[in-house]
Amino acid sequence: MKKNQLMEKIIHGIFLVLGLITVGCVLLITVYLVISGIPAIREIGLVDFLFGKEWASTASEPKYGILPFILTSVYGTAGAILIGVPIGFMTAVYLSKLASPKVKSVMQSAVSLLAGIPSVVYGLVGMLVLVPGIRKIFNVPDGASLLAAIIVLAIMILPSIIKMSITALDAVPKEYEDASLALGATPIETYFKVSVPAAKSGIAAAVVLGVGRAIGEAMAVMMVAGNVPNMPDSLFQSVRFLTTAVSSEMAYSSGLQRQALFSIALVLFLFIMLINATLNFFLKREKE
């Protein structure tokens, strides 16, 4: 009997440890990022770092201002949201409320496919179709630009917006829609004036998720955005995001430059944490 009880206790302990692994990972990641990221910020100065307009890490007199990266990430994400959310939202309303079950199911598979395509494939297509296309249509010297990144990001966040919005819209109780129709509203008026508002926290969560993904994307953006640390004054300039700032210089970096890259990663990490906290806030509100 005692032996069994001992075994049970040991096994419980094992599972407890396994359970706590995720917590351990989060702590580990946070700690490492903070430890690696703080030194450079201390040396460069927080204000100069965050608000400095010039990044020249390999110059003889190096400058480490990451404002161009912050602004590019913000504009890029905003642009992706501006394009991706309306298209994704409208697609979701159609698929959830108007499409026949067959069409809905086919489109959902198509959207799942879109979600599963690796980012480097998006980058490749962007490099060879979008970038030359932008160059031709807008008559600019090089199509690798903020605009190209925005378009690619919009396409990449489309699937999550569509999926989550469909789930939220499908969950709206039919009674609400019946009540609206009985009052003389048309089906389409009902969907937009009753169903969508009823699903709004789910849709908002989808948007916040999209924001998180757009701001964290590196590979696809690296292949279409040009990678010059310009301030994002124009849609057609080559730009660098927070993510690509890290990935483009990491391999050959050293010293303060390398540490500064870790600091950029820390800033990015904090941005993401903020966004996730917002997401949780929305989800909690829905439960009430």
Binding site: P173, E175, Y176, D178, A179, S180, L181, A182, L183, G184, A185, T186, P187, E189, K193, V194, P197, A198
Partner: protein, 251 residues
């Protein structure tokens, strides 16, 4: 007393299954007509046909003549949204929108084009008064409707239906999900409403029909078996099936 709805030889099929057979009825104006009958007899289905809520069901076929104020409700000239404005509906389970009380009641008028704030305020107040709930909610119009009790929610749904100024109010077992006190409040309300509106009410509860209605229609297995003044139906039913039902020989 003239008749506001006349139905001749109406039949309804769900795919191959015939749910309503040769229904003939004339609903009198400004009175309360109750539809009674055992579960599955077709009374709710028939009710929902009157405001064409059944249109949304795929595979549904309807034949026969249904006229509202003389106009065939299925004719191509009739706009179904206007029809539903004239013929309102209250459902079995209270279903207020997850919005404020004000927005719930204002939804109908806003849909039909009224945007002026002052007008809407008047309409909302009038509807809430007609539904005998104004005093309870007048200080919390902006609060979410889902925070109210079941009985209050149902009266809100009645107010919401009245806000578009229908001529007829269809009620599908409006009190079956409510407690006895809320039920009697709504029954009182309905009896006041018949001064201005025609009420057609499906009820599972025969006592309710006796308490509240002027006319009663008894449905069984998709047929309208008998229709007449409530007093007559319950004291001297003409059809044996009616007599068996009201004496409780089958439920």
């Amino acid at each position: 007393m003239s008749n506001i709805i006349t139905v001749k030889d109406m039949c309804l099929w769900y795919g191959d299954h015939q749910a309503l057979k040769n229904v003939n009825i004339e609903i009198p104006k400004k009175s309360i007509t109750a539809f009674i009958g055992p579960s599955g007899c077709g009374k709710s289905t028939f009710l929902k046909t009157l405001n064409r809520m059944n249109d949304l069901i795929p595979g549904l076929k309807i034949t026969g003549d249904i006229r509202y104020e003389g106009t065939d409700i299925f004719s191509k000239e009739v706009d179904v949204n206007n029809l539903r404005k004239e013929i309102g509906m209250v459902f079995q389970k209270p279903n207020p929108f997850p919005m404020s009380i004000y927005d719930n009641v204002a939804y109908g008028p806003r849909t039909h084009g009224i945007t002026n704030r002052v007008q809407l305020d008047e309409i909302v107040e009038r509807a809430l008064r007609d539904a005998a709930i104004w005093d309870e909610v007048k200080d919390r119009l902006k609060k979410n409707a889902l925070g109210m009790s079941g009985g209050q929610q149902q009266r809100l749904c009645i107010a919401r239906a009245l806000a578009v100024q229908p001529k007829i109010l269809l009620m599908d077992e409006p009190t079956s999900a409510l407690d006895p006190i809320s039920t009697s409040r709504i029954e009182e309300l309905v009896m006041e409403l018949k001064e201005k509106y025609t009420i057609v009410m499906v009820t599972h509860n025969m006592q309710q029909a006796v308490r509240v209605s002027d006319y009663t229609a008894f449905f069984l297995l998709g047929e309208l078996v008998e229709f007449g003044k409530t007093d007559d139906i319950f004291s001297q039913p003409q059809d044996k099936r009616t007599e068996d039902y009201i004496t409780g020989r089958f439920g």
